[in-house]
């Protein structure tokens, strides 16, 4: 009896495998560059799973925004389709997924793909094929500075180096002979922030006296924080992603260590800071400095802001189940907004060449999801769309802006 069952199962499985494999083997696709009279197809890779899964909201926020625009008729009579493919933050998968988007799905442009290494891996390929690599979701400097070599690639956010530079200049301006200890992620993101910081400090009496790395795959950074405390620094720069930034605060508090803290933009969303403050019991968060360019959905300052109201409405309608307090959704909407305005400018005659030309000549009056006063602009020699950033300080459970805007071009 048992043998019969196994045999049956064996036949069933062979049949199933054949049935599924065959169509997959023979299905073809044409190389249509993603534009029809009724749709525009965009595609991008996103870490839906894996160590960077928390950034999937960048793609989801953009998708929700596109859906809301489509509900109102789309752009130039076309609906925007945005295909998000998981690459689990693995560049090899990004390469394969991007090739699939370009060669099989036939996207018009690769949009909002996340990760520095992930985008570097496909940049040559996309430029060779003249496919736009639009609004790369990463702060590596090269997206803005290498437009001449890679004309089809453009970023969006200020570079990490520029961010580090501003922190350095701020410390140089406000503190004498500060000793700075840095916890940084051991990849381009962390290293760029550190590099910028050092450049910003150059020529002042303050310097980085200890810099300790951690791996993306690390379990926790407790011993790193202990080392920085033992090194006797009075400024602690956290160049880490949210999970490790929260840990840094927790460990600093456990060690009764109260340095002045600089936290980087990637980890400074209000919901992250609230987690770090351990329900108000962790005072290490008080006085933390950071930079920002987006409106934060949990900041009471923007509770009645019309753009934030629109944001919440879009999230409720088109991103059911997602955490609307996650500021990465706002980032996604900001880039989606810019993309829609590019598509509007390009109009009915949508070609990749025209799209990139528009992307390199942005003079956006204002992006509703970006902080007031911060411009979005590109032009000859200026490949970083976001022009300025706002410095903020964490006081009693929220971010309070101070000090005006800092230009965030890479010096």
């Amino acid at each position: 009896m048992r043998r019969q069952r196994t045999t049956l199962a064996a036949y069933a499985i062979s049949g199933l495998i054949a049935l599924v494999a065959l169509p997959a083997a023979l299905a073809g696709a044409s190389a249509d560059p993603g534009v029809s009279s009724s749709t525009i197809l965009l595609g991008g890779t996103s870490p839906l799973t894996g160590p960077a899964a928390q950034y999937a909201s960048v793609a989801r926020g953009a998708k929700a925004y596109f859906d809301s625009v489509n509900a109102k008729g789309g752009v130039a009579k076309r609906k925007i389709e945005y295909e998000i493919v998981d690459d689990a933050y693995n560049p090899a998968q990004s390469i394969q997924a991007t090739r699939q988007l370009v060669e099989q799905e036939g996207v018009f442009a690769v949009f909002n793909s996340l990760g520095t290494d992930q985008n570097l891996a496909v940049r040559d390929y996309l430029n060779q094929r003249k496919v736009p690599q639009l609004f790369v979701a990463s702060g590596a400097t090269t997206w803005g500075t290498d437009a001449a070599t890679y004309p089809w690639t453009i970023g969006f956010q200020p570079s990490y180096q520029a961010e580090g530079l501003i922190y350095g200049r701020y410390v140089a301006r406000t503190m004498k002979r500060a000793k700075i200890g840095v916890l940084f992620q051991n990849d381009d993101y962390g290293k760029d922030l550190l590099l910028g910081l050092k450049r910003g400090l150059a020529g002042s009496g303050s310097k980085v006296t200890a810099a300790v790395p951690y791996e993306v795959t690390a379990a926790d950074v407790g011993s790193q924080v202990a080392r920085l405390k033992a090194a006797g620094v009075n400024v602690f720069a956290i160049f880490a992603t949210p999970k490790f930034a929260i840990q840094s605060y927790v460990y600093a508090n456990r060690l009764r260590w109260r340095p002045a803290i600089i936290n980087n933009t990637v980890s400074a969303a209000t919901n992250v800071m609230l987690l770090a403050s351990e329900g108000g019991n962790n005072k290490a968060v008080e006085g933390t400095i950071t930079l920002n360019f987006l409106k934060d959905p949990t900041n009471p300052l923007y509770r009645n802001d019309p753009a934030m109201k629109q944001y919440r409405a879009i999230m409720a309608r088109y991103a059911k189940g997602a955490n609307a307090n996650d500021v990465y959704h706002v980032y996604g909407m900001a880039v989606a907004y810019e993309t829609v305005s590019l598509l509007k400018r390009v109009g009915a005659n949508a070609t990749r060449v025209r799209l990139m030309a528009a992307a390199r000549s942005i003079t956006s009056p204002s992006n509703p999801f970006v902080l007031p006063g911060i411009g979005v602009k590109t032009g000859k020699g200026d490949g970083f769309p976001i022009q300025q950033v706002q410095m903020q300080r964490w006081r009693k459970g929220k971010w309070v802006p101070f000090g005006g805007l800092w230009a965030s071009k890479n010096y």
Partner: protein
């Protein structure tokens, strides 16, 4: 100067004991499962993560207080462990080692997927039941949470030890693990005992997860690196020795922190933090090559 250095040293020892306590719990879970069913449960970390999310969901979404949620989670995890053994492991137990390995890997992937599917991938907060206070003991700053973790870990280990040593159930489990055929002959329901073993391991994992989350943050990847350290600890102590797992875990936690501490001295400054995990793995390799049965294990004798 020396006092300060000593204080720093003790600091690392204490936090090493706390993280070591977590490794010990998870290593113990691995050992119990291996002793009883001969399986290395690659999904142990994910099961622990799932349990921790259950606790978190009870507290944040359903308003439970911490300790009731803790107890409920332990109960649920126990049942989950038993169910997993009966449903997933038992059908393949008798087969090849490889088949079982693949099944536990399938469990790992599916459970991790479920956690992301149900609760998302962003970090969450599970606050420590011991609060955020710290105590200054002779220059060494110790957090209440670390003390609580060490206490809970040791407490659970003692309870388990008592269970195995002094109760009939414990004796039955040990018998079923060591010699299933003979145990059956004296009336032990072997299959259920093995399932109980899995249930106990799951509860250990749940405690490990709940002790880890307040420090490192709750997210789907939380226990992945811890699992590897737990493997190292289990191998170090002896893969079939519960005492070895506990000692191995504490030892490993302290050892790794020691290396971090010593990097300030020139002799050790090659140890950058990138090498923390590889060092643990080096421990696994060295032990496996020098004395595979670990510190407390007995060498395996092959029967011809």
């Amino acid at each position: 100067m020396v006092v300060a250095a000593f204080a720093d040293f003790m600091q690392q020892v204490v936090s090493g004991l706390a993280s070591g306590g977590v490794y010990a719990l998870l290593a113990l879970a691995l050992v119990i499962i291996h002793r009883s069913t001969g399986v290395i449960n690659f999904a142990q970390g994910e099961m622990a993560t799932l349990s921790t999310y259950v606790a978190w969901a009870l507290i944040t979404h359903h308003g439970w207080r911490y300790w009731p949620a803790f107890v409920a989670t332990i109960a649920i995890s126990f049942l989950g462990g038993v169910a997993t053994h009966r449903a997933v492991i038992r059908p393949v137990e008798r087969g090849s080692v490889l088949r079982i390995v693949i099944v536990t890997i399938g469990l790992l992937i599916a459970i991790n997927g479920f956690v992301v599917w149900e609760w998302g991938g962003e970090p969450q907060a599970l606050r420590s039941p011991f609060g955020t206070d710290t105590y200054d003991i002779g220059g060494v700053i110790v957090s209440a949470h670390d003390i609580g973790t060490i206490a809970v870990a040791l407490g659970i280990v003692l309870i388990l030890w008592a269970l195995f040593q002094f109760t009939k159930v414990g004796l039955a489990i040990r018998a079923a693990a060591v010699n299933p055929e003979e145990a059956r002959l004296v009336g032990v329901r072997v299959t259920w005992m093995l399932a109980l073993g899995w249930g106990l391991a799951a509860t250990l994992g749940a405690v490990a997860g709940m002790m880890t989350a307040p420090t490192v943050g709750l997210d789907p990847q939380m226990m992945q690196a811890v699992l590897i350290y737990a493997f190292a600890a289990a191998v170090l102590g002896g893969i079939d020795s519960p005492a070895g797992a506990v000692v191995g875990g504490l030892l490993l936690g302290v050892l790794l922190n020691m290396l971090s501490y010593l990097t300030q001295y020139r002799l050790f400054d090659w140890f950058s933090e990138e090498l923390r995990l590889p060092m643990a793995l080096l421990v696994i390799l060295v032990v496996l090559l020098v004395k595979p049965s670990g510190l407390f294990g007995r060498p395996e004798v092959k029967r011809v």
